[in-house]
């Protein structure tokens, strides 16, 4: 798979990076990445993946653009309020990089459709906005043995990690085995969320995805990064797989 003259110019600043180069850029072009949620995290993640030239980007979202999204969801624009987010997202990607194929899944991820959707991709980015979807995505990615670039945000802070049990790393349920009771953890709508902080964390997801695809550097596998925007601090904790994890532990392998 070669690059035409336009692509060589478009990706020149990546190709010149020693850790990416021509081979890495080829891998990026061949990659198929699924992004769950075209919201505060999905917006920067999708834009940077598209700009990087990821060959196919799948986007799962069943929501419509609302005015209160636009403070942080930079994929969508004022004249798109009321439109499906996947339509708005596909338009933004097409404008940014016509070499990228967008597959829109205008649906909510469910136990019934999750495995079928994940099967079409090499990697999953979770930018969803609720615990049900987060636990579902983690299980589907682990079952499919595909890396999951996880992130979650609230108020002024975010968490980022690469969950990749197939490569010996832990999964989401190793860290958070119990789903918090509904209503215990506030959603962004109730608690608020800093727009630019969502941008930082969603861009970190794109960084980790590009590193995994291009096989560059050390992935955030087995580590969880906490970004505290209010304190202007980032801290990293090391996480090992839990042998008794129902998703990726010994019991799950029968």
């Amino acid at each position: 798979m070669g690059f035409d003259r336009d692509e060589l110019e478009r990706y020149a600043r990546h190709i010149v990076l020693h850790e990416i180069g021509g081979p890495g850029q080829q891998r990026i072009k061949a990659a198929k990445v699924l992004v769950i949620g075209a919201g505060g995290l999905g917006s920067p993640a999708i834009l940077y993946l598209a700009a990087a030239g990821v060959g196919r980007i799948g986007i799962v979202d069943d929501d419509e653009v609302s005015l209160s999204n636009l403070q942080r969801q930079v994929l969508h624009h004022t004249d798109e309020v009321g439109e499906p987010k996947v339509a708005s997202a596909a338009r933004a990607v097409a404008r940014l990089n016509p070499h990228v194929e967008v597959v829109t899944h205008d649906a909510r991820l469910t136990p019934e459709n999750a495995d079928g959707i994940v099967a079409g991709y090499d990697m999953v980015l979770d930018g969803s906005d609720n615990f049900d979807t987060r636990y579902l995505v983690n299980r589907a990615a682990a079952r499919a043995a595909k890396p999951l670039v996880f992130a979650a945000i609230g108020r002024w802070e975010g968490q980022v990690a690469v969950f990749d049990p197939a490569a010996g790393g832990p999964c989401y349920e190793c860290i958070f085995p119990e789903r918090p009771a509904p209503g215990l953890v506030p959603a962004c709508a109730e608690a608020g969320v800093l727009g630019a902080m969502a941008g930082v964390v969603g861009a970190m997801q794109a960084v980790e995805a590009v590193k995994l695809i291009a096989q560059a550097g050390e992935p955030l596998r087995g580590r969880l990064m906490l970004y505290d925007a209010l304190g202007a601090e980032a801290r990293v904790i090391r996480v090992k797989p839990r042998a008794d994890c129902p998703v990726c532990g010994d019991a799950s392998r029968g």
Partner: protein
């Protein structure tokens, strides 16, 4: 003794991690913990002793995206 809880110094009396969490007001909460940068699963907390100056991270799950 003084520990560093989520980057801030805190005085606590308890030594075992599970007791320290209860003392700090996290009893029964769905939180993840790390001591000096290493994750400690819930089941292992009773067996982990905190020392003066240890860094304790207590993470609540976030759901926003």
């Amino acid at each position: 003794m003084t520990i560093i809880l989520n980057g801030e110094p805190r005085e606590i009396a308890a030594r075992a991690l599970d007791a320290a969490l209860a003392e700090l007001g996290y009893g029964g909460a769905h939180v993840a913990t790390a001591v000096n940068g290493d994750f400690v699963p819930r089941g292992a907390r009773a067996g982990v002793e905190l020392n003066d100056g240890d860094r304790l991270e207590v993470l609540a799950p976030l759901q926003g995206g």
